[in-house]
Symmetry: C2
Subunit: 238 residues, 2 copies
DNA sequence: CATAGTTGTCTAGTTTATTAGACAAATCGA
DNA sequence: TCGATTTGTCTAATAAACTAGACAACTATG
């Protein structure tokens, strides 16, 4: 009779709550968590259920249990991605991670859906380049993105991004020395199967979804990107 | 063997996925959903499991089933809350809802935590006013927020917000004719128990969390607000 | 009005989630 | 070293989730 639950297992709710205490700053790095008995009391759950939650967190590397001593916070941090008029992914994360690599997973030419066409100011069905990519900071996947661009204007965007790695550089190679963010829509949802795999998330994890349109200095839309960030690893700062 | 699941029941994942198709625009207002048999196939689930997901969506008012005919999208829309330098909650939602009411739930004086103190530029432990509030658009709860302000500067903020209803008005009554947004941090997580109740969410629902600091024209921080928006009803636009 | 297609209901069986209790193993301090 | 505290492991019972199959009820169409 966990009137609260409903399709989400108690152990997962508990794991989420504890993780939140950690990323939210209530529990600092080497802190000892409350004992399993206390946690069980706090969540009105059985100790075994709490143990399952802790096991998940241990597997994620968020906590470490030591028999006889207790369970300890192991470290976790969230990267902050600043969003503004001049949003640059790599620059924005500079200094927050030792390594930051972006890889292009796949690309193809397709016809613009209504949504993509509106965003890019094209006719529905117009040819667009679609590239799938992801970024990894210090070995941890932090974003998974899908980008659409006009095929007419950027016919070989895909091959260039493969070589150069950075969107800013590729735009430069097309003569666009500067560009800016026209709009960003932010929403959130559960990660889907593909995202759970590619971002190495626990099933049921939450992703922040940003839907961004970049424009050149003339105000012409040049790219429409749909990026997914694991909410437990990233936050967006406006 | 739903190797994908993990703490989140299949019926809930299916309900979430279908709801996403609807709010995401893949399914329009009066559209007929695929048959239960097809959905079962698509999600590799039993028809009964799909039926449970549809039952949830029907209870939410998102779909309506009609025996012999099919199941239909009933309507759903997401409000867009624009965030910028001059962010005003009520103005931002103008035109998107027929009615918009904000209520103050409770308030109290407390000592600033480290986080609150930093945000407001106060000494840790300084006296702050804390108010809990929520907003309802067309009868549907769309936000639940906690706001902290310096007690020294706004000693009876609480009673004024109760009378006036709008933050902008209360600031005006303190002689602050204009104010602007210094920063907004956006993250996402599962709704907690209190939020599920106050926002009338389904258990396991996702909330967008915005952490905002407003400043007066002199650049002095005047308020620190932590707002939670149901991700299924709201999106944030930068 | 017969038929194909769709949602609604019922029974039954398996797997997963949760609770419950007992005890072992490790740690720490008196 | 003893005893209290804490995590680790095992068994067992109940509730919720999921699958399976069959058939009823309703709708639209030719």
């Amino acid at each position: 009779m966990h009137s609260v639950a409903g399709g989400v297992a108690l152990w997962r709710q508990i794991a989420d709550a504890i993780r939140l205490d950690i990323v939210g700053g209530k529990l600092a790095n080497g802190d000892r968590l409350p004992t399993e008995a206390l946690l069980a009391q706090r969540f009105s759950a059985n100790r075994h259920t709490v143990r399952r939650a802790l096991a998940v967190l241990a597997e994620e590397g968020v906590v470490v249990a030591e028999q006889g001593r207790g369970t300890f916070v192991r470290s976790i941090r969230r990267l902050s991605y600043p969003i503004g008029k001049r949003t640059r992914f790599r620059e924005g994360l500079k200094g927050q991670a030792a390594s930051l690599t972006s890889v292009s997973i796949s690309d193809r030419i397709e016809n613009a859906t209504a949504r993509v066409a509106v965003a890019l100011g094209l006719k529905p069905g117009a040819k667009v380049v679609r590239t799938e990519g992801m970024s990894v900071a210090d070995g941890v996947p932090i974003s998974r993105s899908t980008t659409w661009l006009s095929y007419r204007r950027f016919p070989d965007f895909a091959s260039r991004i493969n070589q150069m790695g950075s969107t800013t550089l590729v735009f430069g190679s097309y003569g666009i020395t500067d560009y800016s963010r026209a709009s960003t829509r932010i929403s959130a949802r559960h990660a889907d199967v593909e995202e759970i795999q590619s971002l190495t998330l626990a099933p049921g994890a939450i992703v922040l979804v940003s839907e961004a349109v970049d424009v050149d200095p003339e105000g012409e839309a040049i790219s429409y990107a749909l990026s997914r960030f694991p909410a437990e690893r990233m936050e967006l700062v406006v």
